[in-house]
Symmetry: C2
Subunit: 192 residues, 2 copies
Amino acid sequence: MTPGADLLRSAVLSEGRVEGSLLMVDGFLNHRVDPPLLRGVGEDLADRFRSEQPDLVLTAEASGIPPAIFSAAHLGVPLIYAKKYLGPGDRHVFSREVVSPTRGAEYRVEISRRVLGAGHRVLVVDDFLAGGRTAEALGEIAEEAACTVVGLGFAIEKQFTGGRDRLEAHGWRVESLVAVASLEGGQVSLAG
Amino acid sequence: MTPGADLLRSAVLSEGRVEGSLLMVDGFLNHRVDPPLLRGVGEDLADRFRSEQPDLVLTAEASGIPPAIFSAAHLGVPLIYAKKYLGPGDRHVFSREVVSPTRGAEYRVEISRRVLGAGHRVLVVDDFLAGGRTAEALGEIAEEAACTVVGLGFAIEKQFTGGRDRLEAHGWRVESLVAVASLEGGQVSLAG
């Protein structure tokens, strides 16, 4: 167990709330943010992939930015955050349509072709792995841009929503700091 | 001139592009992000307000998060990022409608009542001050939540769009690291 993972595990157990099928962590991770916790999370995720020599971190706005910017700072590489749009797209972007069960809506993940060059070794970082659709879109965009996906790192993984299978089917390595085995009965059960 | 402001000034002059009335800084500030630059920006803004003893940093997703999280980390205080929505709201949030000339659309800035308590000394941090409507919404939400706005800090200020006047009319202190005097003729002219 690493420091960021430790801090996160404690926070999930003490402050996480279950609302239906959702784990609410808006008190410390994705609305109100505790910077030392996020720094620990971002650095831990970076360290898990450091041997792969990533030279670019990729995430999606908005909740991916806090962990991902600390991963990028720790690795000494740039961060690109993809934008999410509901409206019409344009031809100067790499984009993917994403259906989000959490949001109950379809949206588009976009990265400007101007900022994403070819040949990078890309680490995808995000706060949550649930269905894995947003992360899959980011990985596919990276590959479309002729980059290599060295891995995908998540703060929290929900193990019962199929996201890991979806990503590993691409041959990508997946890591998470805290894995949630179940939210049944309104209780957070962590794996391991 | 402080280190973050220096770095930002150089980046704006060497990499900023003018598109109509917009200053595009998506290569280093708000799409592709250079972490050392953003760290410098966030820390400089924090230092300008440190004597006011802010105990909470407030920003709006998504482009405000990179500078604001480094401000919060530097001050040792939490960050709250407001969410932007197009759809219907609910009663568990503080919210304001914002008309964005940049986006050409109206959206809603929201902060959950659960994460924003009363009595905080709030520093608002954002990447851009243009019309000032988003920052005004954040300041008004903070005051509605019975917090004190100790100031508003921006990476880049467009001096010709009325934002500073709008915010100072509330009696709030406004700081920016780089002030753009004009974008006429497709040229970036900085103040000072």
